[in-house]
């Protein structure tokens, strides 16, 4: 992936990721805590369920996470390689790829069985 493309992906996914991750955390806490439901001002149990357990929300967050972190790792790896630290760059690159594939694998298997 070209650095320019990776940078654009990181930039454009950052705000949606911020929004979705925040909603996911807040709804997750609201699902299991009365205090969190009150503190959130906007969550009740049904709404927390809808947001936290809905497939659309989950898959959107996952897509944003995969795009953002893969592009970010590519950027970091590219930077390391450009500075002459090729081995470390390659390690970051391949480790991130393997880890994200692992996440994707688990998700695909789980979603197919739901």
């Amino acid at each position: 992936m070209k650095s320019k493309t990776a940078l654009k992906i990181v930039e454009w996914t950052s705000l949606p990721l911020l929004l979705f991750a925040a909603l996911y955390f807040v709804s997750g806490y609201a699902l299991t805590s009365e205090t969190a439901r009150s503190a959130s001002l906007i969550m009740n149990f049904s709404r927390a369920q809808l947001i936290h357990l809905g497939r659309a929300m989950r898959l959107t967050l996952l897509t944003l996470f995969l795009l953002h972190s893969y592009a970010g790792a590519e950027l970091l790896a590219g930077k390391l390689k450009a500075r002459g630290r090729s081995l470390l760059g390659a390690t970051v690159d391949y480790t991130a790829t393997a880890f994200l594939l692992y996440v994707l694998w688990v998700v695909i298997n789980a979603e197919l069985r739901l």
């Binding site: 699902l31 299991t32 805590s33 009365e34 969190a36 149990f45 049904s46 369920q49 809808l50 357990l53 690159d93 391949y94 790829t97 393997a98 594939l101 692992y102 694998w105 298997n109 739901l114």
Partner: protein, 200 residues
Amino acid sequence: MKKLAFALLVLLLLALGTYWGWSGGKGSSEKSTATPEENTNEKTTGGPVITITGLVERPYNITLSELREMPSRKVHAVLYCVDAPNRPLSNGTWTGVPLKYLLQRAGVKENAVKVALYASDGYTTDLRVKDVLADEDIIVAYEFNGEPIEPRLVVPGRWGYKWIKGLTKVELVDYDFKGRWESVGYPDDAYIENEANPWR
């Protein structure tokens, strides 16, 4: 190109690992994964199934066959699970004995406030005594759509975490007992606000 080969290798390893995990799991846990419904025959002939205990005048044990002899009630109710509220898990007619009847048979002491319910797998949940005594539709079901099942609580209009299955013990207590999910913050009353559309 090198990275694509690496990605394919990772996927291949994951697929192999998953396949081995599944085949290994199937062999070793075949016995333990039998559903409670599948163990029904064993329970129909076995000893005590449910213990009614705690703050009652006359604690007693009851077998499934004894349960079947008691005054029963048919309740049409839909079971909704919290993690999949958009589709009913079970929808049909449950036959069983009102929990109210079981408690009254034991004689509820005045200071009892909660009913603690225990399952054979360690799961717990709870109900308020006054709710149980006021609602005859809360039953300990032994049949679903005419098919025998292991004793399970049916609590119409409430989320599935109240519908404890494999019920083994009903204990009346004088404190605010909370079951497995209630104790981590799920609403204790568990009412489905809009049963026609639990998502909303």
